[in-house]
Amino acid sequence: MLRRPARLGALLGEVGKYGRIARIALVERLAYRLDFILSTLLRFLPMLTTILLWLAVYAGAGQLSGGQLGGFSLKEMISYLLLVHISRMFSSMPGLAQGIARDIREGNLKKYLLQPISILPYLLSYRAAHKAAYITMTAVPYALLFFLCRDFFAGWPSAPVLAAYLLSLLLGFLIGFFLEAALGMLGFWFLEVSSFLYVMGTLTFFLSGHMFPFDLLPAVFAQVLKALPFQYLAYFPAAIFLDKVPQEALLSALMTEAVWALALALLASWLYRCGLRRYSAYGG
């Protein structure tokens, strides 16, 4: 009878512990404000030039007024290019894999082994705080941008689609996190993984649909890219918002995304456990 409150207390203690980690990460993120503001403002420049490029492409194709390229009208294309930035705002994890690989290489992993914290929940709460800070600080400029570009959008999607969109973004955050974490765990087997991570970063930019919607590619390539988990990092949430995923298929598509998130979480956790057996704490 006494076990349940004790277990609840322990659970609350665990949550409080990772909550404090998140608060410290938030304070750290806000310490370098100027650097943060400069890079955030510059982040809008590629959006601008990409929109202008696509305007020129549609003008060149004579499809400026309502015509479609790959099933996307000009307005949908520009909406898509704006929405993938929101997707990446949730799913990109700069420095995560490098950090894990560095901790392995330099023997710093011992802090997770000696202290009562687990590496994956610790890093997850740390990243969640960084994302919260980033999303909060960029909310105003993004809101202004979307307001200025409101004519490109057909309006707000229906409530179920909007709920599915938000869920896809949160699952995209988890997929991005566990994918990067799994890549970082390769540091147990290879001394230097930075070049490999660079390859993956370059590939992800293309495979996630960040550059353009897959639908513009020949059907066979588009199908292959839509079967990979990378699509959840950029393409999939944007496609949901633009009603490119039929409503009757929404639930199964989200479940597939959740399965990918779970599979990648299990993979990262398994790689960590396998890696620990090889770990020698060099330099630690």
Binding site: L38, L42, T49, A56, E192, S195, T202, M211, F212, L216
Partner: protein, 269 residues
């Protein structure tokens, strides 16, 4: 002249040392080269995808645009090979106070900080970019014109000077920002204006932006002017402006760089 020769020899020694270091980790070097190649392939897939849907983008035909892509890639290769790796480390030198070491050496500070190392892995980009441009010229059936080629090379050098000046200005900002670890990202974002033809800045709200980044912050001209001279038309006023802007920006960036050094507070000493 003797000073120039001295710095030339110094640079060659740095380059030789860098090559030896790269070749000590041959596997890593090959992966880095492969990434650059992969990026070019992605760019070409994007280019090909665009031109399967249209025959012209902002006044640039398929072959002309291919030349532009090659020109941009080669210019990016020059900056990455010679300067980017060095400037990228500057913020960390400021943050840790290790910049003291470079300031005490008997050599020009700007040379040491921006040109002491060579990124051999990105060197092939220059040749790949040149190759893509030559392929485009062959597709265009370009008639050899020595005068035009020399003018292109001069304006390409101006483009490199402009890009270098902007890189130095962004690097100098590290002193005031304290942490500017995202210089690679900032540089990538800033050079977005070099990546596309100037003619895409058309329309009521885009034209003033294009004008601003052509004449006030002349980053668009770095790739546009040399590429236009080679495959489209020579605009003498714009070419003269590019020459002038590159000279002014080289001087200005140098002054800002030394101003930044004056504000440097040795962090760890």
């Amino acid at each position: 002249m003797r000073t120039l020769l001295h710095y030339g020899r110094l640079w060659l020694a740095f380059a030789r040392f860098g090559l030896m270091r790269e070749l000590s980790f041959r596997g890593n070097f090959l992966v880095k080269v492969s990434v650059e190649l992969l990026w070019l392939i992605i760019l070409l897939i994007f280019y090909d995808m665009v031109f399967t849907h249209t025959s012209v983008v902002a006044d640039w035909s398929r072959e002309e645009y291919l030349f532009f892509v090659g020109c941009y890639y080669a210019l990016g290769g020059v900056i990455e090979t010679l300067f980017l790796i060095n400037c990228g480390e500057f913020a960390e030198l400021v943050r840790t106070g290790d910049l003291d070491f470079y300031l005490l050496l008997p050599a020009n500070e700007q040379f040491l900080i921006t040109s002491r190392d060579l990124d051999w892995a990105t060197l092939p980009n220059i040749f790949l970019g040149a190759g893509v441009s030559m392929l485009a010229l062959m597709q265009l059936g370009w008639d050899f014109d020595l005068g035009r080629l020399l003018l292109f090379l001069l304006l390409f050098a101006c483009g490199v000077a402009l890009a270098y000046s902007f890189l130095v200005l962004l690097t100098a900002a590290s002193v005031w920002l304290v942490r500017n670890q995202s210089l690679y990202e900032v540089w990538w974002l800033f050079t977005t204006f070099m990546r596309y033809p100037r003619e895409i800045f058309a329309g009521r709200w885009a034209y003033p932006i294009g004008w601003f980044f052509t004449f006030v912050v002349p980053v668009i001209v770095a790739t546009n002017v040399p590429a236009r001279v080679m495959v489209k038309v020579l605009e003498p006023e714009l070419a003269a402006y590019t020459l002038l802007a590159s000279a002014v920006l080289l001087v200005l960036s140098r002054k800002v760089f030394y101003l930044a050094l004056q504000h440097y507070r040795s962090a760890s000493s």
